[in-house]
């Protein structure tokens, strides 16, 4: 048996065939196409799925279901995308459209939730019961997996862990609040923090790793500089890790997952990211009790979204 997963983005549609070992065995990508109607986009998507099957010498009968990860809010059990500003989709019945071309079960889900499900079933949190996947990227996203299923909340919008205020009257966030975790713990925030500090410390290796230009600093530059012994970089990272740990400890006190998985581009830093954060979280544990929740870097990277989408049906049916 195989599973078809689709990553539906504003720029491209990527379909992947996943086997029972949770590996992607075939994949194809097409542009989403600006200005197309939802019907056109979904027809293109159905054809893409057919192409992937044909290339793998399979038919619809060989697949368990198709799962689609999309930005915005989806109602997975109904197969409907309720809203997605990236795609300009408003209450689109994805299942009905796809089933015009392919006779198989179709599910849709928010893309961040799909990525979390992928890590929970097939990645860093394989075998864990309660998992929170926190993505430290442009923003801070999240997905909550409870008993092997996505926890969606009452209106399919749960898991916005980046939008917890941790600094009263802090930095204004895109969501409208002030002091959201996202403003302190995202990769974007780390870059801003490094830029502020290097203005006063222009000789820091952070700046030389960025080709001498403060405006070109990346998150990786800060890690590289710290690993090359730069004290300024180490200080920037220390403060950043403390911010990350604050929000993670909040999540542990509220949800007490068995594991937290840190995703996003920075997860490539592995222990350089996870080890210090774990120590700061331990320091914030209730009454000094020892930290039971495991914290680990994501393992699957970008394919997590396709794998999670592909396996959606197995968690819903």
């Amino acid at each position: 048996m195989y599973y078809l997963g689709v990553d539906l983005g504003g720029m491209s549609i990527k379909a992947g065939l996943v086997n029972e070992a949770y590996e992607i065995v075939a994949t194809k990508t097409i542009p989403t196409g600006r200005g197309k109607s939802s019907k056109e986009v979904l027809k293109d998507m159905a054809m893409l799925c057919k192409d992937v099957l044909t290339e793998a010498n399979l038919t619809e009968a060989d697949i368990d279901s198709i799962g689609i990860g999309s930005p915005g809010i989806a109602s997975p059990e109904d197969g409907i995308i309720l809203s997605s500003s990236n795609l300009n989709f408003d209450h689109v019945n994805v299942r009905a459209e796809i089933q015009k071309y392919l006779s198989c079960d179709v599910y849709v889900e928010n893309d961040a939730n799909c990525a979390a499900l992928g890590e929970a079933i097939a990645g860093a949190a394989k075998g864990e019961k309660n998992v929170v996947v926190v993505t430290l990227g442009t923003g801070v996203g999240g997905g909550i997996i409870n008993d092997g299923k996505i926890y969606r909340g009452a209106f399919c919008g749960a898991g916005e862990v980046g939008h917890q205020v941790i600094v009263k009257d802090g930095i204004t966030c895109g969501c409208g609040r002030k002091g959201c975790w996202e403003q302190y713990a995202s990769a974007t925030a780390l870059i801003r923090q490094a830029q502020e500090v290097t203005k006063e410390h222009i000789n820091s290796k952070i700046v030389s790793f960025a080709g001498g230009k403060i405006e070109n600093i990346t998150a990786k530059n800060v890690f590289d500089a710290a690993q090359a012994g730069d004290h300024i970089a180490a200080e920037v990272l220390k403060k950043y890790f403390q911010y990350v740990a604050m929000g993670l400890t909040n999540l542990i006190n509220i949800l007490e997952p068995s594991m937290i998985v840190l995703g996003g581009g920075m997860s490539a830093q592995g222990d350089y990211l996870v080890k210090p954060i774990k120590e700061f979280v331990q320091a914030e544990m209730y009454g000094g009790l020892s930290l039971k929740t495991k914290i680990r870097a994501a393992e699957l990277g970008n394919p997590a979204g396709i794998i999670g989408a592909a396996l959606l049906g197995t968690t819903i049916k």
Copy 2:
């Protein structure tokens, strides 16, 4: 069919018989007794349960199960209290002890979780799917109910919603962190906030309602003064409500429950508590979207704990 619920506290043990309409139809209380062993305490509890049954002309055969709410951490499915500093219980097999005297199913659960379950099944959140009960009392406690069952987390310690940091480097909390919500949103915090302000405004009605003594101010005095037109009290409450709303919005963004129930002594204020808080939460909603989560005051008061404990078995079996 009836259900037996027990509220096991450091000072007293209270047993209540609950009918199928979720009403307490008989209740008895005994002192816990200082210095008693766990075996003695549990024998007393079993006898208390027998007494309640006898008085109601019932036998063990008439009850579905016994549920016990206890401070500390319990493993409900095993019937074990893992730790309770209030009771000095350490890995006590409550089920085995009680079943020496009564042949029926026995479950144990943290008392705050029992109270949350009571409100979710029989109180303000009757019929709601995902509920967070937040208790604004001496501290800020919580219980998360998901699909009609208590969400316990991986190690039976979830729901510590009061211990989310909302003010970086804020007031030191009993848990060891700085700036926990509990330090700003508990009844204790409201009293402290009122005391600080009335030092400068000794003519506020808050002080006269407290018998002229700042040190005697209660949370109710602040509400009473505001309702009597005192501007200082209104200002104190406004800031307090904003703190409450900050933590509630964090919980909504993370968990998106269908309803939040506000419990604790202050829930008696009803709309005077709930209405302004709702408005502040609405103002913090993601991108100005309208608030879908209902917010309501608890309805059951103290009996929530016994009713929730009594119904534990129905959510586990």
